[in-house]
Symmetry: C2
Subunit: 240 residues, 2 copies
């Protein structure tokens, strides 16, 4: 066919030109809340460059897998769970971000509740652990590549999205109490919230279960779950 010939011709011309291609990776920001702190999964590199530095888990994108597939492959390498919130964040393309060669990296953010998170040491890695995000930043911990920038970017995204999406619910289990959920908001926003006001705002997002907390030396708390509603519309916009 004419079309096929044309395409073949194109491919030949293209290959002859031998454009040098960058490499492409995905890097993962896997967040969870543990011990009332926002934590992130980091690995300790055991290869050059940045050997022995902390870094985000990541993989090279294979020629026959989508970016999401590469992201999930990374997740599976480091942690047990796979039913997990995943969102593309940003693509980092500075020329010198990797000293070896030109690597463009697409960062993905994942969120898991800590009960679903089980760390598994990957092959080319000497350690996988959770790190307190605040402590990393306060200690000015030096991470490999531009990974600290990626973390800071992700934190901003979380802080913004918490206000107009249901992203906070990804940090709690399927069934949760409102005090638990409020704690998540308080940790992510880094400020105390009024109980009554908090409950007013989120009450249309949740539905009661008939379960209660037990064996605690004070009044028990009702379990709730996320109510399935259509994705929230453009809120906070001019109405007319």
């Amino acid at each position: 066919m004419n079309k096929n010939n044309n395409e073949l011709e194109f491919l030949n011309t293209y290959n002859k030109k031998q454009y040098e291609k960058p490499s492409v990776t995905v890097d993962l920001l896997i967040f969870t809340i543990e011990d009332d702190e926002l934590k992130i999964v980091l690995i300790r590199r055991n290869e050059m460059p940045y050997k022995d530095f902390l870094a985000l888990p990541g993989v090279f994108v294979r020629i026959d897998e989508t970016l999401e597939e590469a992201a999930y492959r990374t997740i599976k390498e480091e942690i047990g769970s796979c039913d997990i919130y995943l969102e593309q964040l940003f693509t980092w393309g500075d020329v010198d971000r990797d000293p070896r060669m030109r690597i463009i990296s697409i960062s993905y953010m994942a969120i898991v509740s800590s009960d679903k998170l089980k760390l598994v040491k990957g092959e080319r890695v000497s350690e996988v652990k959770l790190y307190s995000v605040n402590r990393l930043i306060d200690n000015k911990e030096e991470l490999a590549f531009d990974h600290m920038k990626m973390i800071k970017y992700a934190i901003e995204r979380i802080k913004n999205k918490i206000a107009y999406t249901k992203i906070a619910f990804e940090f709690v289990e399927e069934e949760f109490t409102l005090p638990q959920l409020q704690k998540v908001y308080e940790i992510l926003l880094n400020k105390a919230l009024y109980k009554a006001n908090f409950r007013n705002k989120i009450k249309e997002l949740v539905e009661e279960t008939d379960k209660m907390t037990e064996k605690q030396p004070h009044r028990p708390s009702k379990y709730y779950r996320l109510r399935e509603t259509e994705y929230e519309q453009n809120k906070g916009i001019f109405k007319r």
Copy 2:
């Protein structure tokens, strides 16, 4: 040095493995408002695949340029201006999005006021023109590759960002009247707004000039400009 040896060793191992790399492009969504309509710059392809289809302008990312540089290079190829709002949107990585080969594309959104926009026909292209976004969608115009998906994604982004950023100001000239600005909001949000309420909301974002419109058969309108303030904080979030 030991470190250098190690790095060289790594590079050799890496190159021997000969991972097949995807190609990387940037595609540009250049928006403007003309004749009271949101319009986008599209080219007509004169090469396979999708010959004669409308497509977004884009380029392959060179090994020695950042993604932003590639985006600006695209902009310069198609339009005159270069002082222009630019924002990374999303990276598209489906395996079959290009029939020739694996291409990962980072989409960038640019916004220009129509007075700054001068289209220039690029080399490998048979036409560059502005197209009404609404008409493209209503006519279910078939664009090359996944470019229609990119457009729809960008429109959503604009509609969201207009509420909590100053993005709308990118569509007007440096100095503008409030009726002009309101029109931009109305076009982007696709609904009529009350004048008084609109002005209340944006009044802290703008500052008066001493210029007025002239020679119009009705009351003249004052010109304003964007007030330089620090980037707006997390608005619409729980305060306590």
